[in-house]
Subunit: 567 residues, 2 copies
């Protein structure tokens, strides 16, 4: 007997209009359809059908985690400061961390992620190589004091997350645990009905070596990533690397000086000379830990300061200011060229390959230089991929033009390595009797975020449109009429429920058929069954929520078809 | 296919010794058997088998809540200050409340209970009498900054609780919702295998009228309550009421003065006169909102200041100090009697019934009075039941001698009435078109506490001893020997698992049979199956964890018997 929910008894109130404070689709639709309510910025309540959808996602996640042998545990959200002090994250997290004191003045935090505590627990439980590998996970509430918690349920300050952690004694073991998680994530996101890409990511503050993000393309996404339409390559824009072209040897004429008054920008220069911006070399000056460094990229490209920062971390990268030019006659603002910068470190994009010729600054006001050849007239100290990726850039794998997309991060797998084991000195007894430092993986999957991301990705103009495993019911039965229709609707609901089909039946009295139809579209159960005008003949309408296809069938036909399909 | 867990792969480490900081049985055993670990005072992690037990309890609770038509939701734990300001509980909770600020300086709290937020949510969702009654619940993490979180998982600072709330338009409706919850709680605690009593309770800080506690008798219990061995009456000691006896009319001699030097206490007085303490009348002076009041009880009884405070609330009750006697010659310390206290309000226990005669103070130093008759020589302004209940006190229902017991509060049902609806002005449209103020019930059930309470109530000297529905497995199979025993154990585990029996199999290599037996007793799965010396003959031992009964049976017999019983 599956669940039969009667809307006459369900605590649900749908809204005709978008909430005034809603900016994203998931916020608008999840509130309007009665799934969630907002308690404060980034803090949400899950109402009955919302809780069911959340639980459906959590169940799928648990099933696939269990299937790879991960063990479920439950750690607290309220955590003492000490372990986060050991790793430095008590400070590093900055304003993102909710901190509080207990009645005795002890410092606590609300866990934003649990690497520290899992490391402590597993260190306590596992002392020998025989106890490893271990993969453990929890489905637990996390807290992050986001600066702008405005994307609905997508980026909450309190949210439900599945976080798991793997513990191995070798790099090969970690690679295996990572592969198991990666495959489990694919099965989870497939079952959840996501369209998604797995992209290489920069590890950032989590530390560690390999890292991949699972991104669900959606307009509301906060991440930009590239996809290759040909070979399937996908990557976070910050992780895309461009392969330096091989440039055929060529005899370039000698450098010539060009009189270019009032052309301090690439646009003015290209216009003045009548050349494309791509023929020019742009030299951006930045300060790296206070020292001035020049970064050269083709004139038609932008420097990605985030990428540059990741490459040079932990050094701090800043833009130069007018003051930095004082006492530096070698730096002529707007007319810098690498051929005269002996005292300045020169970083260039791989596109500025040896043998390429450029128009660039002549290090004299109002003057540029032509035929400036890399390797002949100037040298590059470091090649770093630092340009902003653009639509059409060549795929680093197959060379096809990449496409840009916005995506929601729905999962993230990290090979943390020994960072946390080092911090907590977590060794186990090795096979040879000597201590072995443990190596870790960390795997996050936003459960409440997945609900919001699915809403974003699957909704249409009528409302939500859930994949079946996630939907609060398999069939939404609408009693469109008076008692005849209501009785029919309830009897069909009972027959389907008895056959194992999950049913939501709209038996509300005093609500017009029109409102019920609109609500059914809004709520987004995949199949809609209408007991309407032909109820007296024993005929109902079956409608597919996504395609909109509809068909009149007899009650028996409807029940047997739905039972065969869903029971 | 039920779950088969292999201990060789399970993250579990049992301990031979009690943890140094453990004071209660549940703390000792749950830690030693590998169910939980402590992260900080009152803050716990649930390890794999602990999480399973916790989930089993939560599942039973959900099933019974769903069965009475309660709808599951999930509210946040991090809550804004405002609603708790409306009801005054932001302040009232005092140090018990975890308070924190977000990055913008906004005040938040970690929810200790959710009346305010549920009232807001339901007010938003339900606007007409047609939308009610509604019962909603959540299984959610709660926070209370306990002053002394020392009872193991029993009284945590972060804990899992089922809290539900009912909303009705009439007192009759509330009574019905309350009755549904009460019956559901009985089914839950029966299924969980609890021995428990339902006791009348004083509502305390929650406000409201009717209130009952579900108490599980256990030595570690923090509540004292009385039970009638004859009629089944049970009550919180503070809620017991004594019926005034009917005293036969009698001609008492006139008051006589007794010379009683140096007898300022009942003990010294009774010894001096050679009478039982029960023949004397003790008069305790207290201040009620600053005014001196005398409280008269039989000399062999103690005044329960908690009870007195509950009766007189919201007035504040304090003990008198030496200074209060200054300028009051009518109050003779140690020799107060009601027959001379014209200016003082006199409250008495019902045992000081009209017609009863007492020895009491004569309002002169060193002097008492005999034959002081209530109603003749003094009047009682108010009768209040304020004595500490004692073993053997008569049952207020049937008069049998009551027994005292210690218990753990595992559930609590409150009829809140309109307190919260008044605070939030929660009216719905009534049937007659006029607004109706909503009336509420609140029902709490500690999920993590239930695990600890069951541990306390069911453990024996060998360790934990779970009721079957709660246990992490139905059968604990011990491979007591080498590869022959391990192979047999694993094959039996597989057969039982395939038949729907949940199995924990101890297949650990390099662990002696003795350690495995000890661990099996400690972990407390209800049935233990040992593949031991007679494994070669296809014979195993079946043992009942609670009774200790053991029997040798063939493998086939064991499998078919356990399958029939548990599959």
């Amino acid at each position: 007997m599956a669940q039969v929910q009667r809307m006459s008894r369900l605590m649900i109130k749908t809204l005709r209009d978008d909430p005034a404070d809603a900016e994203t689709l998931n916020h608008k639709l999840l509130v309007r359809a009665g799934y969630v309510r907002r308690n404060a910025a980034g803090i949400w309540s899950w109402l009955p059908i919302g809780k069911q959808v959340l639980e459906n996602v959590a169940r799928i996640v648990r099933e696939e985690m269990d299937a790879i042998g991960a063990q479920e545990v439950l750690l607290p959200a309220l955590l003492p400061r000490e372990p986060y002090e050991v790793t430095g994250r008590w400070e590093e997290y900055g304003d993102l961390l909710f901190r509080l004191r207990d009645r005795k003045g002890g410092d606590y935090l609300l866990g934003p992620t649990h690497e520290e505590v899992f490391t402590q627990i597993v260190k306590d439980q596992c002392t020998s190589y025989k106890d490893l590998p271990v993969m453990i996970y929890q489905v637990q509430t996390k807290y992050r004091d986001e600066a702008r918690p405005r994307a609905g349920v997508l980026r909450g300050r309190e949210f439900l997350m599945k976080d798991s952690y793997s513990f191995d004694t070798s790099d090969e073991g970690l690679a295996e645990s990572y592969a198991l998680h990666r495959a489990a994530y694919q099965r989870i996101f497939d079952r959840l009905g996501f369209e998604y890409s797995i992209v290489s990511a920069v590890s950032g503050a989590m530390g560690g070596s390999q890292s991949e993000e699972f991104l669900a393309p959606a307009a509301a996404g906060e991440d930009t990533f590239v996809r290759c339409p040909s070979c399937g390559y996908a990557a976070n824009t910050e992780a895309v690397t461009f392969k330096a072209p091989t440039v055929a040897a060529a005899d370039h004429p000698a450098i010539e000086e060009l009189d270019t008054p009032d052309t301090p920008t690439i646009e003015t220069l290209a216009a003045h000379l009548g050349v494309p911006a791509s023929a020019t070399l742009k030299n951006l000056l930045v300060k790296v830990d206070g020292e001035i460094v020049a970064v050269g990229v083709p004139g038609d490209r932008e420097v990605d300061l985030g990428k540059l920062g990741e490459h040079l971390a932990p050094a701090v990268v800043e833009l130069v200011t007018a003051e930095d030019f004082e006492g530096r006659p070698d730096l002529v603002r707007g007319y810098v060229g690498p051929q005269g910068l002996d005292k300045v470190r020169y970083i260039a994009d791989p596109r500025v390959a040896p043998g390429t010729a450029w128009i660039t600054g002549a290090n004299k006001p109002g003057t540029h230089a032509g035929n400036v050849v890399c390797g002949r007239d100037f040298d590059v100290d470091d090649y770093l991929d630092v340009v902003v990726v653009e639509e059409g850039d060549p795929c680093p794998v197959c060379g096809t033009g990449l496409t840009l997309a916005r995506g929601i991060e729905i999962g993230h797998c990290f090979q943390l390595g020994r960072k946390y084991a080092d911090a907590f000195q977590f060794d186990v007894l090795g096979e040879n009797g000597k201590p072995v430092r443990v190596t870790m993986g960390s795997y996050g999957l936003g459960v409440s975020r997945a609900v919001a991301a699915l809403a974003e990705q699957t909704a249409d103009e009528q409302g939500l449109c859930w994949p079946r495993e996630v939907a609060p019911a398999d069939v939404h039965i609408v009693a469109a009429g008076k008692s005849l229709q209501t009785e029919l609707a309830l009897s069909v609901a009972e027959r389907l429920g008895a056959a194992g089909v999950r049913v939501l039946v709209d038996d509300r009295a005093g609500v017009s058929p029109g409102v019920k139809f609109t609500d059914a579209e809004l709520i987004g159960v995949p199949t809609i069954l209408v007991a309407g005008r032909r109820a007296g003949e024993g005929v109902v309408e079956l409608k597919d929520r996504r395609s909109g296809e509809r068909e009149d069938v007899t009650v028996d036909e409807a029940v047997s078809r739905l039972t065969a399909q869903l029971g």
